[in-house]
Structures are given as structure tokens and as C-alpha cells.
């Protein structure tokens, strides 16, 4: 395979946390060299002129829901893969909260085959931690790992029985498996559709205290400390949970944390007059919480930012708020929404890509997520300033439930390459 030079780019390096002009040389789908000058003199067959735009490692999106098996009308591997490519996501880490849940090696093999046939980007699958995500018996963690599961999670169903969870964590530890947990005390959050507070009370919506997140995190930290498992908290969205997270990390617990782009860019007031596209799990928080979580991403206390892509069809959203389904699609809007954090909240691009590319790759032991020599050529070229107004009907996802419909956004992906092969963007950027 020929060499390709990505010349005249601004390299966003999440390892060195820098953003400076440079170029990258790719051969056989791997980055083989990096230059500090935009137009180095290297004998190559092809040159891609990046036009002074940003070149960054492709996003590794931890926690994407593709609705196969079960609800392919909401999202298939084909549609999700195209959406991911358009959104600059080069690796999707998919969730097992499908119908049925991905809890056996057989289901996992089916899904992996579908994903490899249909999606133009890398797809890695997570599997359920307990059978049927019912929180009673652990799945065949060993077999599932052999079949390619990269992590284990029951998604938004919290394992309530601490005995079951502690055994699953202990078993996972023996295999070095990563476990993801959802932080939401199940009792306190029962029936909740919003975060309790003035807004929920005014709208008459059943609320859950922000404290429910800390309670669940505290519980899980205790169990992780007890079992020594590798653990990732999927969505930390409140200020109150952060001190517990900081303390646990300082004490050397093998713990990382993520948050969703929606909790970083929206707050509870965006629900306004019962707009169900803003119904998420956990619910959107107060502005103080949003700001605190943005700061936690800046300082690296929260490691991972993901889209928490959750497709829902029109029918499940066209209902009274309490009855409507939770979740929002995010594959195509993750990058432009994250640029809000850059433009409005002052987050460096390198810090953003540390959270969106480098950290999730590191946590899963993947070689991607960086612009270093030897890393796979999973690259995205984007313009952080390009403005546009989002029309949800132009999105590639089968489900159009985005909270950013009609929003003014900045930041467009100009090209996406997976293993050196272009999967999105014009003929020659």
C-alpha cells in the first residue's frame, strides 16, 4: 500500500496536549511518521492537503447503542456506522442493552459479524454483566471475552443486589475484564423523569435528587475497592459525585469515569415545555452541575466524554414526558457539540480529544486514539469553526431524536479515515 502524507494540518495531540501545525505520514493503515512542519519533503505517492484544518485521532465512542438485535428499525450497524463516520467516530464501543441483551457468546458473535459486514468504522462490543441484564446471575464473562467482548455492563439497569455485583466484579477481576456501571440509586430514582428541584417542581415532573448519583457511585467504589476490579463509571453528571470520584482515584482504586456530551452542553431548563428529545437517563442536571462536570473534564478527573448514542423512534418520543422513552442520538453531533465546550467553555481541543479519543482507547487497551508513530491511522480532519444549523432529517441515523435539532452549531468533520482508508468526506479534502 502506498504512503500518504496528511500535509498542511494543525495536529491536535491528546498525548502531549498540544495543537500545532504539522503533518502525518501514513503507510499500510499505520502512522509511520510525524512532522512539526506542515509541508515536509518526503517521497510519497499521495498527499492529502489538510488546508490548515485540524487533524486529530478518530473518536472512540464508549457506549453506543446500535439496536441490533431486536430493533433494527431504530438503528442498524449500517446506519450507525455511516453516522459514526460522518461524526468523526472511528471506533464504536457498542452497548449490550438490545432485545435480547447481548449476554451469550452466540449473540455476541452474531452482532460482531453484522458489525463487520455493515459498518465502515471499527466496532467493538460490550456484553452484559448479568444474564438478561436482570442482576441475578453473572454472564459467561470468560467465553464472552474470548468472543471479543471488550467490557461488561448492564447499562442503565443497576445491579441492585450487592452480593451478585461483588461476585461478578471478583470474577471479572480474575480475567482482567473491565466493568462499566451506571450511577443511579435504583430506589431513589424510581419513576423519575427529571432532576428534582425548582424546574421539576414547576413542571410537575417526578424528580430524582442529584444525590442518587453519588450514592450509587459511593456504593460501587466500595465494591471496587473490595474486589479490585477494573471499573468505569459510565456517566458522572453531578457536582456532588466529583469529590467521591477524586478521593477514590487518589486512593488508587482502578476507576475511571465518563460523562455524556449532552450533560456537558445542556441543562435541565432545556426541557422547557416537556420536550421529550431532552429526556435522558440520567436526567439533565442544573447548570451548576454542568459547569462542575465541564471543569472535571478539563482537569482530567472525568476521563471520557462519549455520545451515549441512544436511538429512539418517533413513536416512543411522541408521548407525555413521563411516558416517553429516554435517550438521544449523538454519533453525528458529538464533535460539533463538543466544539461548544471549546468555543464557550474554553476547553482546549487537545483536552477534548484526550477525553473523546485517547482515554477511552487507553482504558480499553486499544492502540488508537493518538497521533504517535505506530498508532493505527484512524484520523479525522475537522474545521472547529464551520457554522451550521442542524436539521435532524439530514442525519444518517435511522432515529432522529437529537436535542440539537435546529441548534446553531460550529464544527464540521471534513474527512474520516479508518486504518488509512477514507470512510467519510470529499474526494480530496
Amino acid at each position: 500500500m502506498a504512503r500518504t502524507l496528511f500535509a498542511n494540518a494543525v495536529l491536535v495531540d491528546p498525548v502531549a496536549l498540544t495543537q500545532r501545525p504539522g503533518a502525518v505520514l501514513v503507510e499500510d493503515g499505520v502512522i509511520i511518521d510525524r512532522f512539526d512542519v506542515p509541508g515536509p519533503d518526503v517521497p510519497t505517492a499521495g498527499v492529502i492537503d489538510c488546508g490548515g484544518k485540524c487533524l486529530a485521532p478518530g473518536i472512540v465512542d464508549l457506549g453506543v447503542k446500535v439496536c441490533e438485535p431486536g430493533e433494527r428499525h431504530k438503528e442498524s450497524y449500517r446506519s450507525a456506522g455511516l453516522a459514526a463516520a460522518a461524526g468523526g467516530i472511528t471506533t464504536m464501543i457498542t452497548r449490550p442493552d438490545t432485545l435480547p441483551a447481548i449476554d451469550t457468546p452466540e449473540t455476541l458473535e452474531f452482532v460482531t459479524r453484522r458489525a463487520n459486514e455493515a459498518a465502515p468504522v471499527n466496532v467493538l462490543c460490550m456484553a452484559a454483566l448479568t444474564k438478561g441484564r436482570e442482576g441475578r446471575e453473572m454472564t459467561e464473562i470468560g467465553f464472552l471475552m474470548d468472543a471479543g467482548a471488550v467490557a461488561f455492563t448492564d447499562c442503565d439497569r443497576v445491579v441492585t443486589d450487592t452480593k451478585v455485583l461483588s461476585r461478578a466484579l471478583t470474577y471479572a477481576r480474575s480475567l482482567g475484564a473491565l466493568v462499566l456501571g451506571h450511577q443511579q440509586d435504583p430506589g431513589l430514582s424510581r419513576g423519575a423523569a427529571a432532576t428534582s428541584g425548582k424546574f421539576a417542581s414547576l413542571r410537575g415532573l417526578p424528580g430524582v435528587s442529584a444525590m442518587a448519583e453519588r450514592m450509587a457511585l459511593d456504593r460501587d467504589i466500595s465494591l471496587v475497592e473490595m474486589t479490585g476490579a477494573r471499573y468505569h463509571a459510565d456517566q458522572i453528571t453531578t457536582a456532588r459525585a466529583l469529590p467521591a470520584l477524586r478521593r477514590a482515584k487518589r486512593n488508587g482504586v482502578d476507576l475511571t469515569a465518563g460523562t455524556s456530551i449532552h450533560h456537558l452542553t445542556l441543562n435541565e431548563f432545556d426541557v422547557a415545555d416537556y420536550r421529550t428529545f431532552f429526556k435522558l437517563k440520567p436526567p439533565l442536571r442544573a447548570e451548576d452541575d454542568r459547569v462542575a462536570v465541564v471543569e472535571a473534564v478539563r482537569e482530567g478527573l472525568i476521563d471520557v466524554v462519549c455520545s451515549m448514542h441512544t436511538p429512539q423512534d418517533e413513536e416512543s418520543k411522541r408521548l407525555p414526558f413521563e411516558e416517553a422513552a429516554s435517550g438521544a442520538v449523538g454519533l453525528e453531533t458529538l464533535l460539533p457539540a463538543s466544539m461548544r465546550l471549546h468555543h464557550s467553555d474554553g476547553l482546549d481541543l487537545a483536552v477534548l480529544f484526550r477525553a473523546m479519543s485517547l482515554n477511552p482507547a487507553k482504558r480499553l487497551g486499544l492502540p488508537c486514539g493518538r497521533l504517535d508513530k505506530g498508532a493505527p491511522a484512524d484520523l479525522i480532519l475537522f474545521d472547529p469553526h464551520a457554522p451550521f444549523i442542524l436539521d435532524r432529517w439530514t442525519m444518517r441515523s435511522k432515529s432522529k431524536n437529537t436535542p440539537f435539532d435546529g441548534a446553531r452549531l460550529q464544527g464540521r468533520v471534513l474527512g474520516t479515515w479508518v486504518g488509512g482508508t477514507r470512510v467519510h468526506g470529499g474526494a480530496n479534502a
Binding site: S196, G197, S201, D273, R318, L319, E323
Partner: protein, 316 residues
Amino acid sequence: MSFGQRHLLGIEPLHPVEISTILDLAEHYVSLNRGASKHGDALSGLTQINMFFEASTRTQASFELAGKRLGADVMNMAMQASSLKKGETLIDTALTLNAMHPDLLVVRHPHSGAVDLLAQKVNCAVLNAGDGRHEHPTQALLDALTIRRAKGRLHRLSIAICGDIAHSRVARSNILLLGKMENRVRLVGPPTLMPAGIAEFGVEVYEDMAEGLRDVDVVMMLRLQKERMDGGFIPSEREYYHRYGLDAEKLRAAKPDAIVMHPGPMNRGVEIDGEIADDINRSVIQEQVEMGVAVRMAAMDLLARNLRAAPKEVWA
């Protein structure tokens, strides 16, 4: 006369002037209702559909009577028994009804925001007859009218709302309305029945009933739902009555001429003592029911005027 709304979905979007407009017109209908012939023609030729997704006797009867007295064709639909059971969504039901060209749609629904959702999908005027724990605007308006008639004004009064605030749409609409009209609102009840963030509503919160009722002009009691009594939110019915039930003893803390209100239906001996409820010198509970019909006539009259004044294509 100033009333610029297309729907009556809640008190929140109303301007104080609009509230006064409704109340002023309602006064006129109080006189009409007390006369020998109770017929008006403000709604003649119009179709009013009452859609109640939640059981109701008094509110539905009140809306029905209000529509009939103003000459509308009124149809009642008992929605618990109908197509929703067959799996039809709220929006489909709304579209089906919309195709029958109603002019006024009166809706009660167990979920907050459901009436707003419905209003977006139909091109008639929608009146919220109570949605979940969100709002119940006509109840707040009839309470306001009752207070205004009893006290001679609807501003600078001290009003205590007592009981299950958390689950009450009546409380929310009243807090909003009384606040807009510049009254001091106190909320009295056990903390388990107070909504979160209530201190930010511009109200004073009391857990002690005697303290909360001190020198108030109006005592507004709320109904306590049976299913909330058994240990879930309060320990027991009798403990609740002891601490928060309105009796002569607790009422002594209020002003000597304070009035007692209740949106009904009452649980005598749970939230209110029977004697207080029947005391014609203090209780205005029967008057509230009377005002209910007048206020609903006024609200539908005003909405119908806007409906007739609006160019047709806007509604399409």
C-alpha cells in the same frame, strides 16, 4: 378587556391583567347564573369536547354546565374506557377528535405536560382541566374569584396553602396565580409532601401548622390522596389529622375573619374537621363550586372570542 391567549394551559403564561380580565367577566356570569334564565349565547354554534383521561365528577360537570349555559354543543368522552385501552396514543386520539372540528377541547390527563402536547397537535382552543401534578388553571381562577369576593381584593393578602403540596396541581396553579397578583403565600405541610426546590418559588414554607396559619387571611386546604396515607409519605391518617388537619383549635391562629377553602372532594376528619367545613361564617367551599362554573364560562367565552377573531389559516 385584554386576553391574548389561544389556549388556557396553565397560570404560568398568563399576565396579571389577563387574570383580572377572566375574573371580571366571571363576575358577570355569576349574576347570570343566579338569575331566572341562565342562558347566554357566547358559545352558540361552537362544539365543546370534554376529554377526561382521569376520573372526575365535579370538574367535568362544571365544564359541561358552563358550556351548555353558553349555548355550546357539549360532548363528554370518558377516556379511561375508550381507545387508549386499545393502545391508541394520545396524539392519535387528539388527531381523531380534531378531525371532528371541535372549537373547545377540555382535557384532564394523569401526566404532567400531556395537555401541552395535545394542544400542539390540534387547531382548536384547549383548556387544561388538570394535568398530572403540573397545573389546574381553572381551579386557581375560581379560588381567586372566591377570595376576591370574600375579601374585596386579590392583592396583599396572606394565604396559607396546607397539605399535600408535592402532588397537587391545584397548589402549583394557586402559588403561581397568587404570586402574580402580589400576595404572600405560605405553604404548610410535612416535608415529605413538599416539592423539591420549593424555597425558590417565592413562598414561605412552614412545617408547623399553628405557626403557618398565624394571622393569615385565607386558609386553603388540599385533599390528601388515600394512597399517600399509609406510611409512604406520612405515618398514618390519625397522625396527619393531629398535626395538619384543620380544626377550630388550629384555625384560631389565623385572623378572626379568615376564610377556609378546599378544592374538594373533602376527606372529613383527615385534612379538615367537618364542623369547620360546614361553618357558614368561615367556609367558602360551596361558593368555590359556584364560582367554578362562572370562571369556566368566562374562560371559554374569552377563548372563543379569540378563536373567532383569528384568521382561519393561522389555526391550520
